[in-house]
């Protein structure tokens, strides 16, 4: 197990390095940064001045080495737009996105697990069908549109919750529902599949034969075994949500990491964009690492892969 964890950690670190290279190259190869920063109306001389000022005239490899060398020390340089360092900006925004992602995941899990368990126990009943319907519809709705619809219904129509902003905890409810809804179907289907698998096994039949109450069989014996893969998937889903929060944050004007990335993209503030892409990727890599270790702890066959 320890050697599996070690090997997996090695892969995680090298993937981080590769993502760093890719996110750096992506921004440097897809256009001329100096022209983009200087703006469309600036003269060729201005563009050259910007190029020298930001060190963009140096060889690509040297630029990358400097950037990466500083990045491992969590120094992503200064924002082109603000006076602050990139880390100050990120430090200010990261808690908002983590809170949003955390609440969204919590909501998704709180709905997905009971629904998945019920769907497995009452297989092919209306509960099962309803849960499938929710999953299928959920995967079809565009998330920005679902977010706007929630505003229309719960903020404008029913006036239960605020429209946008992030001053109170109520402001996080609608965005968290909008974000969490997309993680919910897969978590629910996995809970259902895991429960069906476990409920058909011999030890559950033994537990039932011993005369244990149905509730005890389901919660103490079955759910306990079905839940670890669900938790592993939840970790991966959280990683996806942090990456996808840019859309939700922009709809609800939540001042999180996604909104920072989005604003920085429109301001040509590349140091910030690079840092956010890398930070979100690092979170994702870390979370999938946790998921893999969880699954490996549960199923020894996984460790040999």
């Amino acid at each position: 197990m320890l050697s599996y964890v070690f090997r997996r950690l090695l892969v995680a670190f090298s993937v981080m390095l590769t993502v760093a290279v890719v996110s750096f190259m992506l921004l440097h190869l897809s256009g001329d940064l100096a022209t983009a920063i200087a703006g469309p109306e600036s003269s060729a001389a201005d563009v050259e001045k910007v190029r020298v000022q930001y060190g963009l005239d140096r060889p690509m490899a040297a630029q990358f080495a400097d950037w990466l060398g500083a990045a491992v020390r969590l120094d992503f340089g200064r924002s082109f737009y603000f006076q602050n360092t990139v880390m100050e900006l990120v430090g200010e925004r990261l808690p908002v996105t983590l809170k949003l992602g955390g609440v969204a995941l919590l909501l998704a899990v709180l709905v997905a697990i009971p629904l998945g368990v019920l769907a497995a126990i009452y297989r092919d009943s209306w509960v099962d069908r309803l849960s499938l319907l929710i999953a299928v519809v959920g995967q079809a709705m565009p998330n920005f549109w679902f977010a706007l619809s929630l505003i229309l219904v719960f903020a404008v129509g029913l006036k239960w919750l605020p429209v946008a902003g992030n001053t109170s905890w109520q402001h996080f409810i609608l965005p968290a529902i909008a974000l969490g809804y997309y993680a919910m179907p897969s978590l629910m289907r996995l809970t259902r599949a895991g429960m069906l698998d476990v409920l058909g096994s011999d030890y559950i039949r033994t537990a039932r034969a011993k005369g244990l109450s149905p509730a005890r069989v389901v919660f103490k014996h079955a759910l306990r075994n079905a839940i670890i893969p669900v938790m592993a998937l939840a970790a991966v889903e959280l990683g996806f949500m942090l990456g996808g929060s840019v859309v939700i944050e922009s709809v609800y004007s939540l001042q999180g990491l996604g909104q920072l990335a989005w604003d920085s993209i429109s301001r040509n503030d590349y140091p910030v964009v690079q840092a956010v892409v890398l930070i979100i990727a690092v979170f994702y890599i870390g979370l999938t690492f946790v998921a893999d270790v969880l699954n490996a702890a549960l199923d020894p066959r996984m460790r040999t892969r």
Partner: protein, 297 residues
């Protein structure tokens, strides 16, 4: 007691008829195909079905509600947008954009992903390790952010969206074809082809690929749905398809400012988008059930 001869007529039926019968028995697949066919026809015949020019602005006819509202008119069945353009006509032309982006993206990402997956599955070893590593790296990149950042630098357009999504959405193709190829690699018909002296490209393209087609179709439909949703998201955020091209995501973005008083401006394009994606997903899930070796479910 039943005599065995009584239960035999089914296997004599030609394979395609058995497939058709299975497909028609699958409710999701039938509903999904019907939705998809309807929207595809609407897109194909948009110039003939549209009551108005989707680009024609009419300043006096701004934000007219759909016909079933008291203030609506039959002249504009689904109303008009903020520039007085006919909503139904824009919706019909928008179907073209969505379907085209879905198909083109699935084609590009399918080509990339299948090539990687087949090579990894067939050769194994170091090739497999490299491909798996690339897939892991790709999965670690946040798609929406990377697409947004790149589109901002290059400038958003239909072409850019297709190329970007094509280059980003190949992961599932690679994963599925890799494991399917691993299972087929040691099959007897591959060994037979090798024994007959067939070249590796021949084996991969003529022997292996046809056997991956059903798995590929399933992934292609799901990725098509994925691409359509992402195009709508990029267009909604202003870095996808550019105005005045009618894109459903863009229509929601343009209607956003008016949604508090005219909710239909975002409800209509959003619902159509969800229905299209739902249809494609139903077809994909249905095909997976129908083509599964053990039949339905």
């Amino acid at each position: 007691m039943s005599s065995p001869s009584l239960s035999l007529p089914l296997p004599t039926m030609p394979a395609w008829r058995r497939g058709l019968r299975r497909s028609l028995g699958h409710r999701g697949l039938v509903i999904g195909s019907a939705i998809l066919a309807l929207i595809a026809l609407a897109a194909l015949f948009a110039p003939w079905l549209s009551p108005h020019d989707p680009y024609a602005q009419e300043v006096t006819q701004r934000l007219i509600p759909p016909a079933w509202y008291a203030k609506g008119s039959w002249e504009h069945l689904l109303g008009t947008d903020k520039l007085g353009r006919d909503y139904l006509s824009r919706l019909l032309y928008g179907a073209r954009v969505s379907l085209f982006i879905g198909l083109a993206t699935a084609l590009i990402s399918g080509l990339i992903g299948t090539t990687m997956g087949v090579l990894a599955g067939y050769y194994g070893g170091r090739v497999d390790a490299v491909v798996s590593y690339i897939v892991t790296t790709r999965l670690a990149l946040p798609v929406v952010l990377v697409a947004l950042a790149t589109a901002a630098l290059v400038g958003g357009s239909l072409k850019v969206v297709i190329v970007l999504l094509g280059l980003l959405l190949w992961d599932r193709f690679a994963i599925v074809t890799r494991s399917a190829t691993q299972q087929l690699r040691d099959a007897e018909f591959i060994a037979a082809a090798k024994a007959l002296g067939a070249s590796t490209p021949y084996i991969l393209l003529r022997e292996l690929l046809p056997n991956l087609m059903s798995a590929l179709t399933v992934v292609a439909t799901l990725e098509m749905a994925h691409a359509i949703l992402l195009e709508a998201t990029l267009s909604f955020l202003g870095l996808g398809v550019q105005p005045p091209t009618p894109s459903w995501g863009l229509m929601v973005a343009e209607g956003k400012a008016y949604m508090f008083f005219q909710p239909w401006v975002i409800v209509i394009p959003g619902v159509v988008l969800a229905v299209l994606v739902l249809g494609i997903n139903l077809v994909g899930d249905g095909l997976r059930d129908v083509t599964a070796p053990d039949g339905r479910n």
